[in-house]
């Protein structure tokens, strides 16, 4: 049998390699921007603005790349024939994604803070106070939402595969596309219900809705009143991700089969 650690390590290395390529593109653009700044073609505020925009684009591209890699795991023999339990495979893939994306965020963050500091938009004491108060739980909420979205994408993908398996094989690709569209709509409705449920919980538990937003979190963090609520929010979003993941693991074990590729030769 293959251990969870072995699978996770191989996945983490591959995902890390993917994100390193994205980071390379980001760095190349940043270098060009710095050169433009050095030769006076760019103002300090423009440099910081453009590099921040690039960092955001890279982070989004990283999210999409990780989602794509994750979805391939469910339907390829390469991963599904490894002798490891389906829930371990799912967990390994999710943790590999998480590690890779967090490392990407850290590198992008360090780069942005470095550029901002060099340009005199320095990091003062308040940033570290923010970090200790509002920023850290905010980042945790972003990570929890990222996990929730990945699990939602997997759920939509797996459901479309399972339903397609029940449809007559002669149906064309348009039917499958239509089905995928409907599943995405249903998935979005599920998220809506999830958030409605959360709002109900928030009200019952007396959590400030500001706990879910950076602005609110950050401002109120200075007052030291909302951080605990923010961590509760992290817990609730994470719970949503866990619930969806449990459903995904069930589908993976009992219904989702690998794609029967045309032999590559």
């Amino acid at each position: 049998m293959t251990s969870f650690k072995q699978v996770w390590w191989v996945m983490a290395k591959e995902r890390g390699r993917q994100l390193t390529q994205l980071l390379g593109i980001d760095l190349a653009v940043v270098v060009v921007l710095i050169v433009m700044r050095l030769i006076g073609r760019l103002s300090a505020i423009d440099l910081v603005g453009f590099t921040t925009l690039m960092a955001l684009i890279t982070a989004v591209a990283g999210f999409v790349a990780m989602a794509q890699s994750q979805e391939q795991v469910w339907v390829t023999n390469r991963w599904r024939l490894i002798p490891v339990a389906n829930w371990r495979l799912y967990l390994a893939s999710t943790l590999a994604n998480t590690l890779a994306i967090v490392l990407l965020w850290v590198v992008l963050g360090v780069l942005e803070i470095g550029i901002a500091t060099l340009e005199g938009f320095g990091v003062d004491g308040s940033v570290w106070r923010d970090l200790a108060n509002g920023t850290l739980p905010f980042l945790a909420i972003v990570l929890a939402f990222t996990l929730l979205l990945w699990s939602l994408i997997s759920l939509a993908h797996m459901l479309s595969l399972v339903i397609t398996d029940f449809l007559p094989g002669t149906q064309g690709k348009w039917l499958r596309r239509g089905l995928t569209f409907i599943i995405v709509l249903v998935a979005l409705k599920l998220v809506d219900w999830l958030f409605t449920g959360m709002a109900w919980l928030i009200e019952k538990l007396g959590i400030s809705p500001a706990a879910f937003t950076y602005f609110g979190g950050s401002v109120m963090a200075f007052q030291g009143s909302v951080v605990a609520d923010m961590w509760l929010a992290v817990g609730m979003v994470s719970l949503g991700a866990v619930v969806l993941s449990v459903i995904n693991c069930y589908l993976l074990a009992h219904w989702v089969e690998t794609k029967q590729l045309q032999q590559m030769a």
Binding site: M1, T2, Q6, V7, W9, V10, Q72, V75, T76, N77, R78, W79, R80, L81, I82, P83, V84, A85, T164, D165, F166, L167, P168, G169, A253, H254, W255, V256, E257, T258, K259, Q260, L261, Q263, M264, A265
Partner: protein
């Protein structure tokens, strides 16, 4: 003698279509078995079910002592394992990764098989010719130390010289106690290799016989196989 494979009352349905019906099959250890059938008879489907690529079936599949899917995957080496690797990867990278993931994958065997088959380890997968891609499948499959090997149409569209090289490596590398199942509908390619023949027709097992018994009756394996179809091999 321990059985290498035991399938009982296997039924599999997909896309509103029955793909396998009441399949019962027992294979002993240490044999080379030809899984013969027309196009669409269910050979690949049966292999996918045994390997664990397809999951939603009724009945039972046991490989050696392994009954559940995870344990079975540890005992079966399927030629479809290569599906899903990045086509930009080099041949050697595939072996390195599999060696990290599979305790029974023998990197040394893989490199020797590559040499035997004339496969360049530095070549990217997408740059491999059709024949070389088939060789890669074979090398990956035979580099595991498994109880059961499943080779799905390994010689399809392969020239005579490549076929000979591949047949030689199968004979040389198949572990003595392991069972090899080779699916094909061009029986002449594999006829001389076979100890046993399983004919799959109309989505179920139509016959199972020892190759020597067939030959003793004055028939070739090909003639035996064709007798089930009356010259029409499209199922």
């Amino acid at each position: 003698m321990t059985e290498a494979l035991m399938i009982k009352q296997l039924n599999y349905r997909r896309n509103q279509k029955q793909l396998l019906t009441d399949v019962n099959l027992t294979l002993p250890q240490g044999q080379i078995v030809g899984l013969l059938g027309a196009n669409g008879a269910g050979k690949t489907t049966l292999m996918r079910l045994i390997a664990g690529s397809a999951v939603n079936f009724r009945g039972s599949i046991q490989v050696g002592d392994a009954g559940d899917a995870v344990a079975r995957k540890a005992q079966v080496s399927f030629s479809g394992m290569i599906d899903g690797f990045n086509p930009n990867w080099r041949v050697g990278q595939v072996a390195e990764t599999l060696a990290e993931l599979l305790a029974d994958f023998r990197g040394e065997d893989f490199y020797q098989l590559c040499d035997l088959l004339g496969l360049d380890q530095k070549q990217r997968i997408k740059r491999l010719s059709k024949g070389n891609q088939r060789k890669l499948r074979l090398a990956v499959t035979l580099s595991r130390r498994a109880q059961l090997y499943l080779l799905d149409e390994p010689f399809d569209g392969i020239d005579v010289m490549t076929r000979k090289a591949m047949l030689n490596s199968i004979l040389k590398w198949a572990p003595e106690l392991a069972t090899l199942v080779i699916s094909d509908h061009h029986v002449t390619d594999i006829e001389q290799l076979l100890d046993q023949v399983v004919v799959i027709k109309a989505r179920t097992i139509a016959a199972q016989a020892q190759a020597d018994d067939i030959r003793a009756q004055g028939q070739s394996v090909e003639q035996y196989f064709e007798s089930f179809f009356g010259g029409d091999l499209d199922d």
